[in-house]
């Protein structure tokens, strides 16, 4: 059945409004879309790593989560949900748990690329029937915009600040989606909450209904850390995709597939110039840095096209 946004929008929300995420934040849009992909008659258990999403959606005695929810710590959303999923399998076998239940973990890039990478890798390797969703906002936003291994090169953060001799983060962004693909799990995808949410909805559906572990890496911009006007959220995501900084693709049983090819590849400058975290690159002193970013994006894009058989 063809995807219709108007139809999927009618699916009851599994995360309620009234949570305390910032206006213009990509994370709740990501979460809503992922959760909509669970069939309404199915149950879910959700684990969330410590971070903005967790501290803004479950402040005692309130909760935004319609499904059962657990937060235990920062680096272990994957291990925690793997325990719940293990209990489910045995309780189901003993006839003590009946209904179809899906197991989903959410973590930011801090909880996923960095402190939680080991826990994620372990859970994926063990083959739990779960979906891990990284809402990637490219820095530790909850503690106040510190750099992560996901922060792109030359971004200004509070621990990779711009100064007389440094132009922001001097290292490149870790490619976590490829690392997860190298785990040879049944389903890995890179996505974005964009336009009519088709890409993220369909990938979420596949991930959640894949038998075994699945991983979604979803770019989820942060207006505080990226320094953009909150209404520009969708525009920024669009430029991340169309500049090929954040390509949309999936890896299903080892097979790479590009899920969106920009009609016209936009120069990275267009993406960078919308964000305060890159403003230092545009004052004329760092033109070579922009060229460097462009070259890196081009190289990674070409490599991806090759993997996807698109060349």
């Amino acid at each position: 059945m063809a995807y219709k946004f108007k139809e999927t929008a009618k699916i009851p929300e599994r995360i309620s409004g009234g949570h305390r995420m910032c206006a213009g934040c990509g994370a709740p849009v990501t979460v809503r879309t992922v959760l909509r992909a669970i069939e309404p008659e199915h149950r879910a258990v959700i684990s969330v790593a410590t971070g903005c999403l967790e501290v803004s959606t479950c402040i005692y005695p309130y909760t935004s989560w319609e499904d059962s929810f657990i937060h235990s710590a920062f680096e272990n959303a994957a291990a925690t949900i793997s325990g719940a999923e293990s209990a489910y399998r045995v309780l189901k076998a003993k006839g003590k748990a009946g209904e179809e239940t899906k197991f989903i973990a959410f973590g930011g890039d801090g909880g996923t690329y960095d402190i939680g990478l080991q826990s994620l890798s372990g859970a994926m390797e063990r083959g739990h029937n779960m979906t891990y969703v990284c809402y990637d906002n490219e820095a530790y936003m909850n503690t106040g915009i510190q750099r992560s291994s996901s922060t792109p090169m030359y971004a200004n953060t509070t621990t990779s600040p711009v100064g007389e001799v440094r132009a922001g983060k001097i290292q490149f962004k870790k490619d976590l989606t490829m690392i997860m693909a190298a785990h040879n799990i049944p389903y890995v995808a890179q996505s974005a909450p964009y336009r009519n949410m088709k890409d993220l909805y369909e990938k979420s559906k596949k991930a959640i209904y894949t038998d075994g572990p699945a991983f979604l890496n979803v770019i989820s911009p942060c207006p505080r850390g990226w320094r953009y006007d909150t209404p520009k959220l969708m525009e920024i995501i669009g430029l991340a995709i169309d500049s090929c900084i954040w390509p949309l693709y999936e890896v299903e049983n080892g097979k790479f597939r590009l899920t969106h090819r920009p009609n016209k590849k936009v120069p990275v400058r267009e993406y960078l110039k919308m964000q305060g975290r890159f403003s230092h690159l545009l004052n004329g002193n760092y033109e070579n840095h922009i060229d460097e970013i462009q070259a890196m994006v081009d190289e990674r894009w070409e490599r991806l096209l090759e993997l996807c058989g698109e060349n």
Binding site: S72, A79, A87
Partner: protein
């Protein structure tokens, strides 16, 4: 009829685990606890239990998976030692504070550095404020019995706290002893089904666990948690009484050995209590009124009962197999001293012993009693002493 078996401490605990047949065991190997998940995964592989064994990639993930599993509604267990538990540290507090009655076999081993695989109590003593109930075991029989009782204690509605069953690495974990185990059905019947009131997989309602607590509620939650630890004491006694009916073996908050009329006494945990009993007998045959108090329950700490049991003793030596680095004595000493505060005409001294598996012999414990006699005769000495140090 009870079954007599020749089992190592680790085997005894693994057998108890098999008989309890929890829903999930998540563990990562570390000497000397490794055998517990090894034996248990064999029980899983041979179809003797229906448990899910989760072979996690670290102890941090072991405790995290235990938390997820127990919260989901599964009875959950693990085993570890020393650095393994140190890596779990963050999650120990979270398991207790989320009120999840996970049961852990903690095979006591010295913490690094320097790395040392042998026994002392620096691991569990470091976790004494984590909110876990701590039961200590002198020998293989006690490790087995404590493990079976731990399930009921933790899951009791007045408690809902995780329980660690501590026993000495190698000395207890690897030495084989003749012990009595229960029949499988007796254990199953004793522990019963795990029916939590709140759990993630409840089909009738969703729950949220692990919320952010602001200063307006955090304190109240901590006070509630503290009450659970206070209330655990009676539950431990009730379950011990029930277990005694089933097995004939008596457990309390601590064991008193010839303490009634003792003039000098040693307070010591785990396997060294066995050595001390031999010394007490030897000294008694020489007319010295020696005695022993062996705490079984260190958390909650039964301060009132211990005070009552020790208040008539003139000289007390507390033996600590953990340094504590307080500069005022080991952790057991500080607790005992605090329990005895205000008792007059009493000498209390501390001996740190056996760190990193340094052997403690009958002669060492005998020296402790003799030192106590000298102190009572007027010798001034240090409050904190080191036993068996070269």
């Amino acid at each position: 009829m009870a079954i007599r078996e020749k089992l190592s401490g680790n085997e005894a605990v693994a057998v108890a685990m098999k008989q309890i047949e929890p829903d999930v065991v998540a563990a990562f190997p570390i000497t000397p606890s490794t055998e517990v998940p090894q034996y248990f995964s064999q029980f899983v592989a041979s179809g003797q239990v229906r448990t899910e064994f989760v072979a996690v990639e670290s102890e941090h993930s072991a405790m995290s998976a235990c938390i997820g599993s127990q919260a989901a509604g599964g009875r959950t267990m693990t085993a570890t030692s020393a650095n393994g538990m140190a890596l779990m540290w963050e999650m120990l507090y979270i398991a207790a504070s989320l009120r999840l009655p996970i049961v852990m076999a903690l095979v006591n081993r010295a913490l690094s550095a320097p790395i040392n695989i042998h026994n002392d109590h620096s691991d569990s003593m470091g976790a004494r404020d984590s909110g876990w109930i701590q039961l200590y075991s002198e020998n293989n029989q006690e490790a087995y019995d404590n493990f079976v009782q731990a399930v009921r204690i933790g899951e009791h509605v007045d408690v809902l706290l995780p329980v660690m069953v501590c026993y000495d690495g190698f000395i207890t974990s690897h030495a084989v002893e003749n012990i009595e185990i229960l029949e499988n059905n007796k254990v199953k019947e004793f522990v019963g089904e795990y029916n939590p009131k709140y759990y993630l997989l409840d089909e009738n309602r969703s729950i949220s666990l692990g919320a952010l607590d602001l200063p307006s509620v955090y304190f109240e939650h901590k006070r509630g948690q503290a009450q659970a630890m206070i209330d655990a004491k009676q539950v431990i006694l009730d379950i011990a009484a029930e277990y005694e009916k089933l097995t004939g073996r008596r457990y309390g908050l601590f064991e008193e050995y010839k303490l009634n009329d003792a003039e000098v006494a040693v307070v010591v945990l785990n396997s060294t209590a066995g050595t001390t009993k031999a010394v007490v007998d030897k000294l008694r045959s020489r007319g010295i009124k020696a005695g022993l108090l062996k705490p079984r329950v260190f958390r909650p700490f039964p301060h009132r009962e211990i005070r009552e049991a020790l208040s008539h003793v003139n000289g007390i030596a507390v033996l600590d197999k953990a340094e504590g680095f307080s500069s005022a004595g080991g952790p057991l000493f500080i607790e005992i001293k605090s329990a005895l505060q205000g008792v007059s005409d009493m000498k209390i001294v501390n001996f740190i012993y056996g760190l990193g598996g340094r052997d403690i012999r009958v002669e060492h414990v005998e020296d402790v009693f003799m030192e106590l006699k000298d102190r009572l005769a007027g010798d001034e000495g240090n409050m904190v002493n080191y036993l068996g140090l070269d």
